[in-house]
Symmetry: C2
Subunit: 222 residues, 2 copies
């Protein structure tokens, strides 16, 4: 039990490998970044890289974690003060796009493995439970700090539903080839008011049973 101020040697190496991998992913994309090149650029052996990371996929997870951190940091300030639901959602979703933007060119190849059900990089996998929790926390904050009137039944599930919207947006963004992903931005700008109005309308008598059934179904399926 040494109270050393710096990280343990193993942890340092691990960090070095991750940093190198993330840098190369960013510079060259997923496929072009081989385990050999990561090891070489980090000045370690291939075996050592595999000693710390069971597969290339596991390195990608670290990549996601950092984007996730960017996302949280990018909207923390704007979400600190209470505001309208639509304002907050707009901020959270745009911050998400901002965090991913530098990687759009390569996002496709990352996404492929992430979308695979069994993959450790899937946002629904056990391995990504931490990243998922942190990501959902953003949308919990979106709802909790909202000054808008909300249906009590909806309120409990809303953070998770908005997180799913964020996942859906990501899915669209990955396939969005418009310059600067302008279409994704437009989707956010125009869909958020729609969601806001829908949430407001959900309290109407005609829509109430429909909303209740939809929520019940959602709970049964997740």
């Amino acid at each position: 039990m040494t109270a050393s101020p710096s990280l343990a040697r193993g942890e340092q190496t691990k960090q070095l490998i991750v940093d190198t991998a993330v840098r190369l992913f960013r510079e060259q994309g997923y496929e072009k970044t081989t385990m050999r090149s990561i090891a070489q650029a980090a000045g370690v052996s291939v075996g050592n890289a595999y000693y710390y990371f069971p597969s290339k996929d596991h390195l990608v997870q670290e990549f996601y974690r950092r984007i996730q951190e960017q996302h949280s940091a990018g909207c923390a300030e704007a979400l600190a003060e209470p505001s309208d639901l639509d304002r907050r959602l707009l901020v959270a979703l745009h911050a998400g796009l901002d965090a991913m933007a530098p990687y759009h060119e390569f996002a496709g190849s990352f996404f492929a493995t992430a979308a695979t059900p069994g993959s450790p990089t899937s946002p629904f996998s056990d391995e990504s439970v931490d990243a998922r929790e942190r990501s959902m926390a953003i949308f919990r904050s979106v709802v909790d700090g909202s000054t808008s009137k909300l249906d009590d039944e909806l309120r409990g599930d809303l953070p998770e539903l908005l997180w799913l919207c964020h996942m859906g947006l990501t899915l669209y963004w990955v396939h969005d080839t418009s310059p600067g992903q302008a279409k994704s931005r437009m989707l956010v700008n125009r869909a958020v008011p729609l969601v806001d109005r829908l949430v407001a309308l959900s309290r109407l008598r005609v829509l109430r049973p429909l909303v209740r059934e939809a929520l019940a179904l959602y709970r049964a399926l997740r």
Copy 2:
């Protein structure tokens, strides 16, 4: 220009490779079925297989095409006669699940490449334009043969929107680990009435502007 009754020799080889590949995909899944094993089982060389199919992905596309045919055939009869929209949609979506059911075990790995934006197996790629058209035709038939009252503006886009629902269902199904994919069936059974009611309600005065804006947004984004 020979008017030979049988296929040209090249076409025969191509068929042989496809048939073998599809059979092995079905028996062993995507990853376990290597180009080598396909070639060996078909009695040709690896190089020959690559002569006809530029990549393994292109062989997968043929696999999809056959599932798609199953889907169309599986609901053609039930859709021949006019009926209610919800009845038709239910039939079409369950037929889709039926067609995919035998492959659920392996669906994940297929799905990974299909979800990749650049991939030729993506349902949105140029290469799959044929399969996509055939698949959408099912939902066009769902709408066209419907006896339910439909908003005129919605009617034009509805087939495409329902096809997107089918894609969404597929996405859920791939990740559905419940026994016999019971949850996906439940999703269909309970979501279809919801969709039906939503379509009916879309003609209400309070919802009209919302529906119009949603449709306009959809058209701007596709």
